[in-house]
């Protein structure tokens, strides 16, 4: 069984070649090396000759499942490589009816946790790069669904989520909390990278792309940014697969996962533990209810 990065990478290329040569897939989406050592970037392979572009290393952060949305109305059969979180995203997208299983081939890849590219950019060359924040808390490094799989399953290094960061905010006074979020949302430039990279943000059209509707003004200030932040966090509540991509890609370093994790924590304690995207049968917590939900509004 291939287990090292090099072995898995080699196997990736072999499978891609096989799928393309046999015609089983019309394209394969994987990762190639980017401009810098700490950057890997999605690549589309259409010909077996190009499979050597594919790589597998500690910076293959991008979730490739979301790219399947682009091909739902085409005749393409698309193969993707998928880490644990990518397969959870895949399940979520199937549940949201945004991709079709019969149009895709999922090649599962067990993951040892990706490194923190943002930190890598700040550290001197050769320094030890820490694991990405979301990966530290990953409980599903192995693919939860796949058509094929490369390598042996790894042992999860985390068994329980760490809510200490959320609790630290909860412990603040109302004014301190507000001041904290103000300082964070003042930074937001509303580039919508968090939204566009998020597998849960998969709506065909978004209210934030319709400024004429009056839903949200294009005036960028802390208040409107916070409006955007809360709206998005609530929209992905119960559907967030905790890949942490939103926070990782934010050019302003807004701690977006702190919002998402707050919802996760509350959902777990109010409606029972929920793990988004583990299967395609459990409905998202906010798309159903129970008559025995806690009652606080009498």
């Amino acid at each position: 069984m291939p287990n090292t990065f090099a072995e898995i990478q080699n196997e990736m290329r072999n499978i891609a070649k096989e799928l393309l040569e046999s015609g089983e897939a019309t394209m394969v989406i994987g990762w190639e090396k980017g401009a810098l050592p700490y950057q890997s970037t999605p690549v589309m392979i259409r010909s077996a000759e190009d499979v050597d572009k594919l790589i597998w290393d500690e910076y293959c952060q991008q979730n490739l499942s979301t790219y399947l949305i682009d091909y739902i109305y085409t005749d393409e059969k698309v193969a993707i490589f998928a880490k644990g979180c990518d397969t959870r995203a895949y399940n979520r997208l199937i549940q949201d009816n945004r991709i079709k299983a019969e149009k895709s081939i999922v090649i599962g890849v067990p993951c040892l946790g990706m490194k923190n590219a943002r930190e890598a950019a700040k550290l001197p060359e050769g320094a030890e790069v820490p694991m990405a924040n979301a990966c530290k808390e990953c409980r599903y490094p192995n693919p939860v669904t796949f058509d094929r799989k490369i390598g042996e399953d790894v042992t999860p290094w985390c068994t329980e989520r760490d809510f200490s960061d959320v609790e630290a905010i909860e412990a603040l006074s109302a004014d301190e909390k507000y001041a904290f979020w103000q300082s964070q949302y003042t930074k937001c430039i509303r580039c919508y990278a968090c939204r566009n990279i998020c597998p849960a943000c998969n709506c065909t059209s978004c209210i934030f792309d319709q400024s004429a509707s009056g839903w949200c003004s294009k005036d960028v200030n802390a208040s409107e940014n916070q409006f955007y932040g809360v709206t998005r966090a609530f929209h992905v509540a119960g559907r967030c697969i905790e890949c942490g991509q939103c926070e990782m890609v934010c050019p302003s370093e807004v701690p977006i996962m702190l919002m998402n994790k707050k919802f996760i924590k509350d959902i777990d304690s109010l409606f029972g533990a929920h793990e988004a995207g583990i299967d395609i049968d459990t409905p998202a917590p906010l798309s159903h209810f129970s008559v025995s939900d806690p009652e606080e509004f009498m």
Partner: protein, 178 residues
């Protein structure tokens, strides 16, 4: 990132009369408020009632937008669970607002400013009691400034001389938000 050289509106704490927005479900709470009225139950006039088809029509944006535009307290009210005109709408409301209440608190909004309550069409006195209590509570903690995105724009139709003068005058430029 914002740099609007327009003064934001500031409230004064003296003589503070809070503005309370009530999202009232058409079938229960709105009827309850109506009953309070026809029964001549007195409550302070600080309440603005906004009728919605069902309490689950209210989403978090409505609540935040209210705070942005100068409301001091928000009440979302609908039928008791089990009594929804649309059978299950308020069960969704319950799930949703259990989370939103906590999120608003997490964002630093005083929980006294934001409530969800079940008030049926027969509960005129409850409507009176809930809003009266809320108004008193909000009055005690003062005007809300959090999340405010309000502004006061005064537009003059100046004469030619005035425009030239205002260009030359030493007008204040508000510094970037610190």
């Amino acid at each position: 990132m914002s740099d609007n050289s327009v003064e934001t509106v500031k409230d004064t704490a003296e003589n503070f009369e809070p503005k309370i927005l009530v999202f009232a479900c058409n079938w229960c709470t709105y009827a309850g408020a109506d009953l309070a009225g026809t029964s001549r139950l007195q409550y302070p006039p600080n309440v603005r009632v906004l009728r919605v088809p069902c309490s689950c029509r209210v989403n978090p944006q409505f609540v935040i937008r209210a705070f942005q535009r100068g409301i001091d307290g928000v009440l979302v009210a609908g039928c008791h669970p089990g009594d929804c005109h649309y059978t299950t709408g308020n069960y969704y409301t319950r799930r949703r607002f259990l989370l939103i209440n906590r999120m608003m608190e997490y964002m630093g909004i005083d929980p006294k400013r934001f409530h969800t309550r079940w008030i049926s069409g027969a509960e005129g006195p409850k409507f009176q009691q809930v809003v009266t209590e809320m108004i008193e509570e909000v009055k005690a903690i003062g005007p809300n400034r959090k999340l405010r995105d309000d502004m006061k724009v005064t537009v003059n139709t100046p004469s030619t001389d005035e425009i030239v003068a205002s260009v030359e005058s030493d007008t204040k430029v508000v510094d970037d938000n610190a």
